[in-house]
Symmetry: C2
Subunit: 308 residues, 2 copies
């Protein structure tokens, strides 16, 4: 069985390394030249909870030719359509595609390239970092929640869950994975976007009464739109979850701050608050906080990101 990791940044390398170590046949796909060349020359350097040089296959998406049994999607949200276009030649009727991207609405994109019964949606709280090209650093622990988009895909979903568990990735086959995806997106949609625009840590945001009022308004908007999408989130439980997560992340600048403020890169805002604001327009309801912060993040992108 051949598994491709489509998007082999920090998280893709973690999954690739752990699957390879459990004797799965894995090919990494990525577009970062330096990263590809380093891994082709010296193998993938893994440090942290695993310390190892691993001989892993890596290539550009368009260079892949062997048909895929499994594809695990791990691109940045805005790179997803391009990736799916570039790997059309390895997707056939039996290929199962697992989406582990951050954010909302990816199933709408994947459906355009992959038969619906072959799509498995997921969410993970594993983390990883890339100290440099060809080097992934692993710390902490995590889990994965998975569910096939259609009931007819359940068997395939359970097979993949087992494969991920053999690789030590703590996967669970879920009855309601879209709720889990919305819960994670709501956490990101509160702290990521605001910490990026306000240039502050999670702890600084949540220490302020004004920050808490902002957070609560954004959670209300996520819960309202989730409900309209048929996904029931309990507003108070969601708030409790976000506040608990914030305590653990207090000292951190979230990933959107790292992308936008520290590294001047485009953000995933359109798949978090921007998705909620777009859906609100479709449903003709108001989500002004999500709308405003989305515009602010895009404005900061236009100021900070070169060749935007």
């Amino acid at each position: 069985m051949l598994t491709y990791i489509a998007g082999s940044g920090a998280m893709g390398c973690r999954f690739g390394a752990q699957l390879a170590q459990s004797n799965q046949k894995v090919v990494l796909l990525d577009n970062w030249d330096e990263h590809i060349q380093k891994i082709q020359k010296d193998g993938l350097k893994v440090t942290g909870t695993i310390e190892k040089e691993m001989n892993l296959s890596i290539m550009r998406p368009s260079e892949a030719t062997d048909p895929a049994d499994y594809i695990i999607l791990f691109t940045k949200a805005m790179q997803l359509p391009k990736m799916l276009e570039d790997i059309q030649q390895i997707i056939n009727e039996d290929t199962k595609v697992v989406c582990l991207l951050n954010g909302l609405g990816h199933e709408e994109v994947i459906r355009q390239y992959v038969p619906e019964h072959s799509i498995i949606m997921g969410v993970t709280v594993w983390t990883a970092s890339l100290p440099g090209p060809g080097h992934v650093h692993l710390a902490g622990t995590g889990e994965i929640n998975l569910q096939s988009l259609l009931p007819s895909g359940e068997e395939a979903g359970r097979v993949i869950t087992e494969m991920l568990n053999k690789a030590g990735l703590n996967a669970t086959y879920e009855s309601d994975v879209l709720s889990a995806i919305w819960r994670k997106a709501c956490v990101n949609g509160t702290m990521n976007s605001n910490c990026a625009v306000l240039d502050c840590t999670v702890g600084e945001l949540f220490a302020s009464s004004n920050g808490k009022e902002i957070i609560d308004s954004i959670i209300d908007e996520f819960v309202e739109i989730a409900e309209l999408e048929g996904i029931s989130l309990d507003d108070q439980e969601m708030k409790d979850y976000v506040y608990q997560t914030a305590v653990k992340a207090a000292d951190h600048y979230p990933s959107m701050h790292q992308d936008l403020i520290q590294n001047n890169r485009l953000t995933e805002i359109d798949y978090l608050n921007g998705y909620v604001a777009r859906k609100a327009q479709e449903y003709e309801v108001e989500t002004p906080y999500c709308e405003y912060i989305t515009k602010m993040v895009h404005l900061k992108e236009s100021l900070l990101v070169k060749d935007n």
Copy 2:
């Protein structure tokens, strides 16, 4: 006739200097020790369109004893109540009080300290800067719009208008000064608050389609609340005016950016967007953009302003 300038920062010094030059008896009031000592020792240094060392009287508000004929209020918005308390001893039945502060709602504060028929509301587009204590720099030109709060105060308002005109300050007695005050506040409420939070120039804000959408939403909210307050602003005309003003100010960081980001000082947000959001609550309507940006500015204050 004795005129006090209550709040002698850059603008107070400009008005004090020009009134003194036209042979008005003027006393500056301020709380900045270094500034007071410098002017008491060496006089006020005026540079720019007027170049002169002027021998002007300056003291702390609580030290003033001679009854005032006129008081021109020029404090920062949040310092107004304290100033009015500190100068109670120089206000009598004949004292006329002219408010030239930025922002909205100051008449509600002044009414608590001064009889309503003695209050003259105004707005000015003159500018000035303080390169250092005891030194005011004058550039450009400007004008003042004035109107007494009650019709019975009109005569006094016209006398003051004449006095300001003798000092070359281009004053006009208005039939609807509150509209003029709201117009200026709306300009400040769009560009000041957003440029402060987004750390950008006026030109950068207005060059962005996201920036323009934000501006338009905030103007809509100002116009809606002004209407409820009995002040009719034409929405399209207001937008034209804000956009024209933005072109002239394109290269500038507005004053709230200077206060908050450059000098880590408290802002006047509660008298701009914050005032609109507060009034909206009273009227039970929604002004989410004004509400959100007010919270963001206060959050930045809590991060940046020491001894807040």
